[in-house]
């Protein structure tokens, strides 16, 4: 599956047609505690990570949220 992840083309080696956000975070080792995830510019809430799916061609952005202000 080919996606765009944080502006870069990424080839994700999986057997299925789609993967969940949780799958992607695991595959790409996003271990951050607080995140913002967008699929094709739509925000995915934390409680939807295990159900929201990513398919071939999707534009995905994952940003680490950190304390300070």
């Amino acid at each position: 599956m080919n996606i765009i992840l944080n502006h870069n083309h990424e080839k994700i080696e999986v057997g299925s047609e789609v993967i969940t956000v949780s799958d992607l975070l695991k595959i790409k080792n996003f271990t951050f505690r607080m995140l913002v995830v967008k699929i094709n510019d739509i925000v995915v809430k934390r409680d939807e990570y295990s159900t929201a799916t990513i398919k071939d061609g999707d534009n995905v952005q994952v940003i680490h949220l950190i304390s300070g202000g």
Partner: protein, 204 residues
């Protein structure tokens, strides 16, 4: 290129919400007041303390004063005409949407990452058409060129997205003000976008 008077006339029409009146929020409010924004809605529950004075827009004679009250006083000293609505309240996922219901642009100025995630989820889900400008990563010093604005649709993330505050990575005026200025600059770009067509129209 528009004149400052023309810019102020347009800024005057808009309301900007600011969630948090610490290092980011107080300085975003200061910058937007100086460029003539019509109305600010500002919420914070804290009081001014000694440790805030290394970066926040408060003064020593305001120690122990509620931040929103001290900030309103300071902003009115810059511009007596600005409309400032303040709320001395701890924001949460229940009160944040009704409180900022009327804003044209929303500024996230919390310090805790959990709160940043909360406001992004809420606003981007419930108010997807309201641009949201977040501050993310501004501790330490130096590394000015690491500070940037990441655009994710109408969600703008300002900062280095790396430096987390901690006992040995304190937030201090120079980098916090860069981040706050980036947020205020993004608010201006969003509000002025398409206003000066065929003239000078920089993108956020």
């Amino acid at each position: 290129m528009p004149t400052f008077e023309q810019i102020k006339q347009i800024m005057q029409k808009y309301t900007v919400g600011i969630a948090g009146a610490g290092g980011l929020g107080s300085n975003v409010a200061m910058a937007l007041t100086r460029v003539g924004v019509g109305k600010l809605i500002i919420a914070d529950y804290d009081i001014v303390s000694e440790s805030n004075l290394n970066r926040q827009f408060y003064f020593r004679d305001q120690l122990d004063v509620k931040k929103v009250e001290a900030l309103k006083e300071n902003l009115l000293r810059i511009s007596p005409d600005i409309d400032i609505e303040i709320h001395n309240i701890k924001l949460n996922d229940q009160n944040i949407l009704p409180l900022f219901d009327s804003v044209d642009v929303m500024v996230e100025a919390f310090d805790i990452a959990e709160m940043k995630e909360m406001i992004i989820e809420l606003f981007q889900t419930e108010k997807p058409n309201i641009p949201l400008v977040v501050g993310n990563g501004m501790a330490g010093w130096g590394e000015s060129n690491e500070m940037k604005v990441e655009k994710l649709g109408n969600l703008y993330i300002c900062g280095d997205s790396k430096t987390e505050i901690g006992p040995e990575m304190p937030p201090m005026a120079p980098r916090v003000l860069i981040c706050a200025a980036m947020q205020a600059n993004t608010v201006m770009s969003v509000l002025l976008e398409n206003q000066f067509r065929n003239e000078y129209n920089p993108q956020p």
